[in-house]
Assembly symmetry: C2
Homo-oligomer: 342 residues x 2
DNA sequence: CTGAAAGCGCTTACAG
DNA sequence: CTGAAAGCGCTTACAG
């Protein structure tokens, strides 16, 4: 592999070496035309062939846009914090991160936000996606404009996003189902299902996975119809109170979405003779505390620190057309009991 | 921060710039005396102040030594494979890894191997340690000679090793205990404990953690005295056959070490009316297969890929006196069911 | 906004 | 094994 020099680029672009240098370092005082010619010349000669010290300098800054849910749960806040910390995860590159909040009720917020995203403004986009009509196309158009897209937490599998950073939610639901079955070994009774809503692909998938396992292997357990609490504490609380009132044989509760504070409170208030087995998702202050206190049996987790480091690494390697380490970027479905939540 | 130049180093060392260049790139044709003077000059001026492109060049190669158990279980083989893959995890640095096998029966193998380790031969050492007499001192002397040491899987906490890459094994035992208790909700019976041997700190700690939880919270479960199988399939097989013969109420088996093939085989052969709950450690071909087949209930895992990437990153940042990302290097105690082993 | 030229730092080729 | 010198590539300072 031969490294190209500023001289090569200068000759091809018909400008002086000094001008090439200015463009590569994004210094002021270059006409749009000259800048354009230099960029084309570099493109023709191959960006990756530039000497490391110069590409490092040229890299200088990367700007990433993240589209995140407007509904700010603690899980989402943990993702924000993770993104902030992850800015230093790629050596020698200064990464700027802009977070924009969009409604996940339908895809309109995402579609509108992506419309204005071009390579002039961002080197990559991370999307906490909802798989609604038009979103796939908006992602593909962003990619066509030259901005790589990586989905986060919730995928749009048929789009041309470069990667998905998150867990297999069907498998996560199956994991919850298996745990529930094993914790309720030999028990007969009903299982209450509390979900966010049916727009959210991850919730639907978890529900599906859970249903598969319980239906297949645990005939003694009857699943009640899922109730939508919109991931809100207040609604979840009253849902669980109703569940416990109406079903004397309630043996377990699987909470698919957020708003787990409401679920924990409801059980505390009702003080049932035998607490139902509770399995829920994501570590937050409340769920951790409940786990430590023995008020919850297990928590299924996707590590927000890992996910945010991963998406920043992936967007960076996409921006530089570099390889990435597949093993390292795989997000695992983790199971936490009080004893391994350190 | 001012970067020092070859000229600065050359003046201080009283040699020519060309000689400094040769030393920094480890090119041949430099007298030991000149090399020594240059190294001292760089040391005085501050290694970290060298320009990046030169330190990158000077970095060129890093050589790490890994002391690994002579007994080659699949877990240990997975660590080898992980080390091989991890050689490319640090950008722009060529990493050479030498693996040396030592007996873990006592500390002698480790002590002997560390004796010959100096900064001329290695830039860092990873030790799968046994906490035996003399090992702590051997590690400290290696550190004093200027070679950073990181322990892997099994720690020597009172030594001056820079980091420990592995899990908290007491917590891992507690996690196993909690799972066992929850899987045996309301059941009375005995629990069989199969361990490797009592020299291994990690085994002792897991045992301790398991005992804490069962003793505290699950009075219906009686723990039988632990039996040492030396992590060998054959011995573990006969241990489990004896356990099942002698204890009609055997409700669970916790396997603390390796040799799990023997445990799985024994249960298959005995065909008990109700299989005891089985919890064991580490994903291998055999344990995975047994998990998928439902012959095992849960596996406690420390991710060998994560651990090996972590130790290579840590040794590299120690060699370059660079910062590391603490969050990223924390090894988690993972729980695998068939459903989240993807 | 641009380039010719001087400067700086590292590398290479050669002479001893 | 060593250094003086030429060379290469990037950067800076200046003139227009």
């Amino acid at each position: 592999m031969t490294t190209i020099t500023l001289k090569d680029v200068a000759e091809r672009a018909n400008v002086s070496i000094a001008t090439v240098d200015r463009v590569l370092h994004e210094r002021a005082g270059v006409s749009a035309r000259a800048r354009q010619r230099v960029k084309e010349a570099i493109h023709d000669l191959g960006f990756g062939q530039l000497p490391v010290r110069l590409t490092r300098a040229a890299r200088g800054k990367l700007r990433f846009l993240f589209l995140m849910p407007g509904l700010e749960t603690e899980f989402v806040r943990n993702l924000y914090d993770g993104l902030k910390k992850a800015r230093t995860i790629v050596p020698d590159v200064e990464i700027q991160i802009e977070v924009q909040r969009v409604s996940l009720a339908d895809g309109k917020g995402i579609i509108a936000a992506l419309e204005h995203v071009g390579p002039d403004r961002f080197n990559g986009v991370g999307v906490f996606a909802v798989d609604a009509p038009g979103v796939r196309q908006a992602i593909d158009e962003t990619v066509d404009r030259g901005v790589p897209v990586v989905t986060l937490v919730s995928d749009v599998p048929l789009s041309r996003r470069a990667h998905f950073v998150g867990i297999d939610n069907v498998a996560a639901g199956r994991t919850a189902g298996r745990l529930m079955g094993k914790f309720l070994r030999g028990v007969s009774g009903s299982i209450g299902l509390v979900t966010g809503n049916q727009h959210m692909r991850d919730h639907v998938e978890r529900h599906m996975g859970f249903r598969q396992i319980i239906g297949m292997d645990y005939r003694g357990l009857k699943m009640l119809p899922p109730v939508e609490g919109e991931s809100m504490d207040a609604r979840n609380r009253s849902i669980v109170i109703d569940l416990m009132r109406d079903h004397g044989d309630l043996a377990g509760i699987y909470s698919i979405g957020a708003g787990n504070g409401g679920i924990i409170t409801a059980i505390e208030e009702m003080q049932p003779a035998r607490r139902p087995v509770v399995i829920l998702h994501e570590l937050t202050r409340q769920t951790r505390k409940a786990l430590a206190a023995g008020a919850v049996d297990a928590i299924i987790v996707q590590d927000t620190g890992h996910m945010t480091r991963s998406i920043v690494r992936l967007l960076s390697s996409l921006a530089f057309s570099e390889e990435h380490h597949d093993d390292q970027e795989k997000i695992r479905i983790e199971i936490f009991l009080a004893e391994n939540d350190l």
